[in-house]
Symmetry: C2
Subunit: 323 residues, 2 copies
Amino acid sequence: MGGDGGPAVTTSAAYAVRDHATVSLFGDRRAIQQAAVAAGIPSPDAGWASVVHSDLAVSADDGLRRILRQGAASSLGLALQQLRNDQVDAVISAGDTAAVMSLSRHLLGTLNGVARPAIAREFLGKQGPFWMADLGANVSCTADQLHAFGRQLVVAARMLSGIDAPRCALLNIGVEQGKGPELLRRTAQLLDADAETDFIGYVEPSELFENRADVVICEGFVGNIALKSIEGTASMARHMVRREIAQSSLLQRMVLGMLRPVVEGIRHGLDTDRYNGAQLLGLPGVVVKSHGSATSRAFEFALRRAIECVDQALPERLAAAAR
Amino acid sequence: MGGDGGPAVTTSAAYAVRDHATVSLFGDRRAIQQAAVAAGIPSPDAGWASVVHSDLAVSADDGLRRILRQGAASSLGLALQQLRNDQVDAVISAGDTAAVMSLSRHLLGTLNGVARPAIAREFLGKQGPFWMADLGANVSCTADQLHAFGRQLVVAARMLSGIDAPRCALLNIGVEQGKGPELLRRTAQLLDADAETDFIGYVEPSELFENRADVVICEGFVGNIALKSIEGTASMARHMVRREIAQSSLLQRMVLGMLRPVVEGIRHGLDTDRYNGAQLLGLPGVVVKSHGSATSRAFEFALRRAIECVDQALPERLAAAAR
């Protein structure tokens, strides 16, 4: 039910992955059926998915207290409870980040040894993928918590991106040792002393896409600022490409038509859809948060990401790393 | 002498604006002359610029204490002293931000009523320009200082971008009132109470390029994270466009040749050169900081920006706003 698109987005995306997963749809049964009709796909009643009805949806406006009190009966809450009871293997939501985060933590608890869950995501850099966390689950973290995020990120990068020995860095405004707030210096000491983590020091946001590091740890407020700055700039870049094409002459546009693969390549490269789907690290189950403004195609990537996490037994491996 | 390119970049850029300003070059005389020869432009001795010799250049590695003690004799220091003595109207440097900032403050002092200078810059959004500060001059600010940055940004946006009644916002990770650190909530109260500032609330970095606000205030650490995230993502976008074109077939590239205006438009749009040149607000003179990796063309934009600041009497107007 979550996200800007609601069931219209999530239902058709779920239909697209029906051969790769057993699909359960949590939400308003009627809205789901209408979404299927509108998308021109069979009704879930035809057997491709089961529906767990709930007409209660949590939203960002509800406030944390109300979400925790009433959220268990919501579509998200019912899904998380099935995850807790091993009835499903993963929960994917396009709902509000704070709601997904707090309700997950409330209904699932955290992994042993993990004080605070973190939001992690894979990005595509110039040389390949890299990972970042925390992207906004926590607005104040301790050095110990940031250290724990790093250990979990290393597992995620190894399992989900196939990076053998992930190089780990801390996000800061400079690479010199004395730079940035005291919290980062304390975290750097912990990471330096951790023989299992290949800590390479600080990395600046301008160097992220140069793949200086495979795994980048950030305090949640700062990580959220970086994430949203990246999203805003990528959107601006897509806007500029579109505008130039729209402003070109008819003849130029005809020629551009011949170049469809090149233009599509540029669009595709600037496209964040393919990397939609943030992992909530530190929970005893797979919870993937899709971008709220995700298209059906983007939500499908979040579903595939969740399937991959289950295939790789990510929560079990994260539990081992947290100890 | 500063920046990755040194005199090779700055000398030829200065030559390009010689008809719009009286140019003084501060630095190693021999290096400047060699740079002129290499660029195929006349020597400054031919009369298009005066040279103030110094073979001492400050760098980020020097440490703040050494910069303040020895910096007055450096090329940057000599330039700033001429600015203080009204011998020049503006100083433009591609040197290290911390060095430019600290030496400017040390040699020029700050405007009456301004406790801390801020780094401000104009960005191009989807609907037009917008301004941000502080982008990294300060790693911890008070609410009063952030409020003062806002008042100065409003002047800069009005004078340099022609925005009549700039809407002012605070950079945060959400738009809801309770979001983010306490510092932002205190600053929001001050801005709300300021009848001269059209404060519209919080803005998220993902919305910056949507021009929700004309002027965006941020704490220096956070602003620097946002700035560098924007720069890194813009670089990634340019990389993708280049890669798609390089990977296209010979035929496709020939066709692309016919589309030069469109392709150049895309490149140009993703280009940060045109918006090179950050203002140091709060000083009693025009100091413009170019990006360290600026090309000659980009440095020229920083020079033109400085000329514009002088034409608009920006320091005098900022002084009036600070009171």
